[in-house]
């Protein structure tokens, strides 16, 4: 009984404290933009299958984005189907899964292609965390149908996504099974980025604020790196090749020494 009471009280305090912090944090930021269109939303693409394996991952990531960067984030994640006419309100989309990924319909494929070639971005996260996960395989295959003229490639170590906020030399998530990100390029940017390491799994928190999943093998330092990668992905979506501008090069080269 005491234990339960203590647990309830502790849990209550955690929630109250967490909410107060969150409220304080975002209250201190002042007015939050001119409207929802100004904010960065985490938008999960819904499809027929296990489309939302990490329901709190996006929110958990955006919490850190909002704390550590100047990006104006909306903490409530959204879900949308590719054929939804409002999909054009959200330039950033996330698609994840842990198992099979059904082929996209023609309408879905056209909508996604149009979204990405008009300036949108898709982050794909394989929640299985396996190097050769089924979700990643089938997603790549589905996107190759939409973009028959493009080829998947490993993103090099000097890709803008690895230096858009943090200077990263490791690609990790909840797992570290794949040492690299993969992507599809269009013009001068990479609108599709795939992680096989269950990045959102590292960012997911439960309602008490505790981490939902352990990060293996690197533990909490790996989780921190995963968050940094997630922050970089968000910043990349918003800044693209900003860090490739000439003015940044001397600083980056010096810090990379």
């Amino acid at each position: 009984m005491d234990l339960l009471t203590r647990s309830n009280r502790r849990g209550f305090l955690r929630i109250a404290f967490g909410s107060a912090c969150a409220w304080t944090l975002f209250r201190a930021k002042g007015a939050l933009g001119l409207g929802e269109a100004s904010k960065f939303f985490w938008v999960q693409v819904a499809y027929n299958g296990g489309w939302n394996p990490r329901p709190t991952g996006g929110r958990g990531l955006l919490l850190e984005v909002g704390k550590r960067t100047s990006v104006d984030v909306a903490l409530e994640s959204r879900r949308i189907r590719l054929t939804d006419p409002h999909v054009r309100n959200y330039p950033f989309l996330c698609i994840s899964g842990a198992g099979d990924f059904p082929p996209l319909s023609r309408e879905e494929g056209q909508a996604l292609r149009s979204h990405l070639t008009s300036g949108g971005m898709l982050f794909a996260d394989d929640a299985s965390g396996e190097d050769n996960g089924r979700f990643a395989r089938e997603l790549k295959s589905a996107l190759s149908v939409i973009f028959p003229d493009k080829e998947w490639r490993r993103l090099p170590s000097d890709h803008s996504v690895l230096r858009s906020f943090y200077l990263l030399d490791r690609v990790v998530g909840r797992t570290a099974s794949s040492a690299f990100l993969e992507g599809l390029d269009h013009e001068d940017r990479t609108p599709v980025i795939l992680s096989r390491n269950d990045l959102l799994g590292a960012c997911a928190r439960d309602e008490f604020g505790a981490w939902e999943y352990q990060v293996i093998p690197g533990g909490e330092s790996q989780r921190e790196t995963a968050f940094r990668l997630g922050i970089n992905i968000v910043l990349y979506a918003l800044t693209v090749n900003y860090k490739k501008d000439q003015i940044h090069q001397p600083f980056i080269l010096q810090r990379k020494r």
């Binding site: 201190a28 930021k29 002042g30 007015a31 939050l32 933009g33 001119l34 409207g35 929802e36 269109a37 100004s38 960065f40 850190e64 704390k67 550590r68 960067t69 100047s70 990006v71 104006d72 054009r88 309100n89 330039p91 008009s118 300036g119 949108g120 230096r163 858009s164 906020f165 943090y166 200077l167 001068d188 909490e220 989780r223 921190e224 968050f227 940094r228 910043l235 979506a237 918003l238 800044t239 693209v240 900003y242 860090k243 501008d245 003015i247 940044h248 600083f251 980056i252 810090r255």
Partner: protein
């Protein structure tokens, strides 16, 4: 006439021998017969008488006659050639009179000298420039020197061929400013060879003025590419010709009367031609007239050749834009991508990725080392204090300056606009009143005043074009007015806007949101222009199928901000860049009112400034709504500036253009005396060189005497049948008979 004794019959040699034998036989017999005369004196007298008579008989036998030969003396010519080209109107330095006047004055004083020459020679007077024209002395004095070129060799040949009469020599009065083969031959030196002048006689050359004391500085040439890029250094090469100076002079480059660059030039007496390189950076796009000038010195022979105009068409290479964003956002992202991918734009952007309130610790609350970050310090000083003038447009996009730059730095932005820069403020939660701008120098340049308390309106809305916006170039997404309005009505809706107060005087609201709140406003401030876009959701056009219109809107905005000529309210253009002398260029003026609607019924005047700085005002007539035309007369070669002033109901706008008229007068390019040419000509022809003014009595000239020749007319008159020829024979014989009787001889 010349008379001579001739024998009319030609005897053969044997006949003459027979006659001679007969004469000898007669004389021998006579001598024998006179042997009986007692005294030798009487014998001699009688023999002489008989021999004389015999000689006269022989003379008669030979048939003597008188041949009359007509001998004529033919007079030759001396040509007086007087240069009547335009360079002869220049002063005969150090005299104040013109060169031509000095020459005609000398000819008037030298009447005695000319009269003495006229005794043996016919004197002919010619005025020449391209060719020689025969005149009288009186006619010469009334010639107006207007020739556009000088060809001394051609004039000499013309004079030589003018008549069959031989040319004994030439008196050449000229400043030596030759543009024909004579000058080329002299310049090429001995290798140039002698020129065939057609005159066998000496050429005496007379130069009005003294080259040694001639002082002048002239800008003779400007070499330029004819075009340049705005804010990019451009170099020109200036040719300066100077004589008689040893000093340092400034070479100035001016535009609209203002000195924009200068170089110093050291002049030395032993050098005539100089080249000066001048570099300058054009600041405005468009056709501009530049003037290179060397300020005239007080003792110069001619002050009017010290400057030269030329046209440079300044175009924009790339528009330099500085974008500063207060945070990463979709609005910033799409605008940056658009500007970055525009090959005509050179974009430098800075984004605030982390604010002072951002947490710098990791998940475990350990501080994150700065080496782990790709962030760079925001270069406030470099941007605001030093770098701004290098840009054409500054964009502050949802940027609150207060955490990063002191208040006073906003003065740099204001000065940037005043000096011609373009400035854009784009809305968001960190912009306008929310960005700390009320009461700042930036508010002074914005199109709108700002509320002291930040107010934003959320919610979806469709911006509507205002009456001013319908014709403004920024809002023209289609050239057709109706289609443009239809496009604006069909654009994706926007979300949220910063509340701004109404446009200031002189500013225009081009689009408005709910309740007439200005959403897009413009203003012209000082020499610059500003644009306020009070929303951060324009990116939706780019992402929602209206990307073309999004691109067009920002393209229009940038062009208007940098005053691209296509966006000016008053534009004037000639139908061509270059004309021939005498043509009438047509200038077309297109005028719009402050809200960019066609301006009708305006007073449109064109002030045309000729190369010689004469100004004429021409009224332009309205041909269509907002389109006016004026015709210009061009009498001179060179660069013309046409300045248009459009006035109506308190509005007054100007615009310039320039055009060139070809047909430069080489006579007035090099105004120095070419004594070397005149001396060389005199030396080659056996003449002499003289300087004017001079006393006629000091002029020594020698011409070959006129030629005489025998005429073909001859007349022969016989004498042998004249009775008077026989009388001496009869007398001689009679005298011998009388003396023989007197002396009592048989």
């Amino acid at each position: 006439m010349k008379k001579s004794l001739v024998f009319l019959h030609s005897y053969a040699s044997w006949e003459l021998a027979v006659i001679a034998l007969c004469v000898l036989a007669f004389l021998a017999f006579s001598g024998y017969g006179l042997g009986r005369v007692n005294t030798w004196r009487r014998r001699t007298v009688l023999f002489v008488l008989r021999a004389a008579a015999a000689g006269l008989c022989v003379f008669v036998v030979l048939q003597p006659g008188i041949e009359t030969l007509k001998v004529t003396t033919v007079r030759d010519r001396i040509a007086v050639l007087v240069d009547s080209s335009q360079s002869m109107t220049l002063p005969a330095y150090p005299e104040k009179k013109s060169r031509f006047e000095v020459v005609t004055a000398f000819l008037s004083e030298a009447s005695g000298l000319l009269a003495s020459l006229a005794k043996d020679h016919d004197i002919e007077y010619y005025a020449f420039s391209a060719g020689a024209q025969l005149l009288s002395l009186g006619g010469l004095a009334s010639v107006a020197p207007q020739g556009r070129t000088t060809d001394i060799a051609g004039a000499l040949r013309d004079a030589a061929r003018a008549k069959d009469q031989r040319l004994a020599g030439v008196l050449l009065f000229s400043d030596g400013d030759d543009h024909g083969e004579m000058n080329r031959a002299v310049e090429s030196g001995p290798a140039g060879g002698r020129i065939s002048l057609g005159s066998p006689g000496p050429v005496y050359t007379f130069c009005p003025g003294n080259q040694r004391t001639f002082k002048d500085i002239a800008v003779v040439e400007v070499k330029s590419a004819g075009f340049g890029f705005v804010k990019t250094p451009l170099e020109i090469l200036v040719g300066v010709r100077a004589q008689g100076y040893s000093t340092r002079v400034p070479v100035l480059l001016k535009k609209e009367g203002e000195i924009i660059a200068s170089r110093s030039l050291d002049l030395t007496p032993d050098r005539r031609d100089y080249e000066v390189r001048i570099s300058f950076t054009p600041q405005e796009v468009g056709k501009g007239i530049y003037v290179v000038e060397v300020p005239a010195l007080a003792d110069e022979a001619v002050a009017g050749n010290n400057s030269l105009s030329f046209i440079v068409n300044v175009i924009r290479d790339k528009t330099r834009i500085l974008q500063i964003a207060g945070r990463p956002s979709w609005d910033e992202r799409f605008l940056r991508q658009l500007l970055k991918n525009d090959p005509a734009i050179d974009l430098v952007s800075f984004m605030i990725l982390r604010t002072p309130s951002s947490i710098v610790a990791d998940l475990r609350n350990f501080p994150i080392p700065v080496e782990d970050l790709s962030l760079i310090p925001f270069p406030v000083v470099d941007i605001f204090e030093k770098g701004l003038p290098e840009f054409d447009v500054l964009i502050l996009q949802n940027f609150d300056y207060r955490p990063y730059a002191p208040f006073m730095y906003m003065n740099f932005v204001k000065a940037f606009v005043d000096k011609g820069g373009g400035f854009v403020m784009i809305g968001g939660d960190l912009s306008f009143s929310s960005g700390g701008y009320p009461g700042s120098p930036i508010e002074d340049v914005l199109p709108n005043t700002l509320e002291r308390t930040a107010t934003v309106s959320e919610g979806e809305f469709h911006p509507a074009l205002t009456p001013a916006g319908r014709d403004h170039p920024v809002m023209r997404l289609d050239p057709d007015r109706k289609r443009n309005e239809a496009i604006w009505a069909s654009l994706p809706g926007l979300s949220g806007f910063n509340r701004l107060l109404g446009p200031r005087p002189g500013a225009w609201a081009l689009a408005e949101g709910p309740g007439g709140a200005p959403v897009v406003s413009v203003r012209e401030v000082g020499k610059g222009r500003t644009l306020a876009v009070a929303t951060d959701s324009l990116w939706r056009w780019a992402f929602s199928g209206a990307e073309r219109h999004y691109r067009r809107f920002w393209g229009n905005a940038v062009a208007w901000l940098v005053k691209d000529p296509s966006g000016r309210r008053v534009r004037v253009a000639s139908d061509r860049d270059t004309y021939q002398k005498g043509e009438e260029p047509v200038l077309e003026v297109k005028a719009k009112d402050p809200s960019y609607r066609a301006l009708t019924g305006a007073r449109v005047e064109i002030e045309v400034v000729s190369p010689s700085r004469k100004s004429v005002v021409v009224k332009a007539e309205e041909k269509e709504e907002g389109r006016y035309e004026g015709r210009i007369n061009t009498g001179e070669a060179g660069v013309y500036l046409a300045r248009v002033r459009v006035q109506k109901e308190g509005m007054s706008e100007t615009s310039d253009t320039a055009f060139a008229v070809e047909g430069r007068n080489p006579e007035l390019e090099d105004i120095s005396l070419n004594e070397d040419l005149l001396k060389e000509l005199a030396a080659q022809s056996g003449g002499k060189f003289f300087r004017l003014p001079a006393r006629p009595g000091d002029i020594e000239m020698a011409f070959p005497p006129p030629e005489q020749f025998r005429s073909a007319e001859r007349e022969k008159k016989p004498l042998w049948d004249s009775p008077w020829l026989y009388l001496p024979i009869v007398f001689l014989f009679s005298l011998e008979w009388f003396l023989r009787r007197s002396w009592d001889l048989p």
